[in-house]
Amino acid sequence: MITVIIALLSGLFIGRLVGAKVLKVNDVAFMFLSTIFIFIMGISLGLSRSTFAGVGNILTNSLFLAIFASLGSIIFSSFFSKLLSK
């Protein structure tokens, strides 16, 4: 938690300080690092053979969970619409 707060807030501070000058470099760096990270995550998934065997399960679970979470957001956003119209 502390790492998250420190890293995010220091990023916000630096971003505010240097302005849009570093935005492009920052975007490229984020894209590069996140790709590397997901690649490593893939390796980690492949390394645990039993997990890899359950990839089909992960996909099905993800699909239904995405539908459920989206539906939850939709339904609760309609409460917001009602609140706004009052």
Partner: protein, 194 residues
Amino acid sequence: MTRLIVACLLGLLIGLFLPGNLNINLMFSLILPILLFSVGVSLGNINIMNLVTNNRKFLLLPIFSLIGSIVFSVIYALIMKNGIKETVLVGSAMGFYSLPAIMVSTQIGVVAGTTLLITNMIREAITILLAPLITKIFGKYSIIAVGGATTMDVSLVMIKEVGGSELVPLAILNGLVLTLGVPFITSLFINLRF
């Protein structure tokens, strides 16, 4: 999105041929703070205060949609008998798949991290592909609620297309609040015991 899918599949293939006892956890913990810092830098460039003061009442939308997502994730976990903590972590990412997936992979496990990644990629795809249908059935704010953190970048064009220009500041505000809030919420849920 395609870039991340290819990277994950490539890693998965390579991982299958590597010795099973290889430990790569250190790599995760080294890159994570840099990525968080990078998210902070990109948000630091936006005039957050100005956006918030002009659209104060719309701050409730990301909160409502986040609560909805969490509540329905709990329901899903109960129906499917999945772990509530892992499912809530996945549901609360709100379409923000890169950073939370990394955080969850590092601290909970690679299966939960991969589920988070794929679920939120699907959520992004739902936002873009079904935007006209969702807006037509549930109203214009629903598409921003589904889009979650992606509404300030990837799905912004689609939101403008189906909801008009008036939705753009609201979509940016929604995306901003969630992009800034989701890493904290993910971290909070990781540390909570339930």
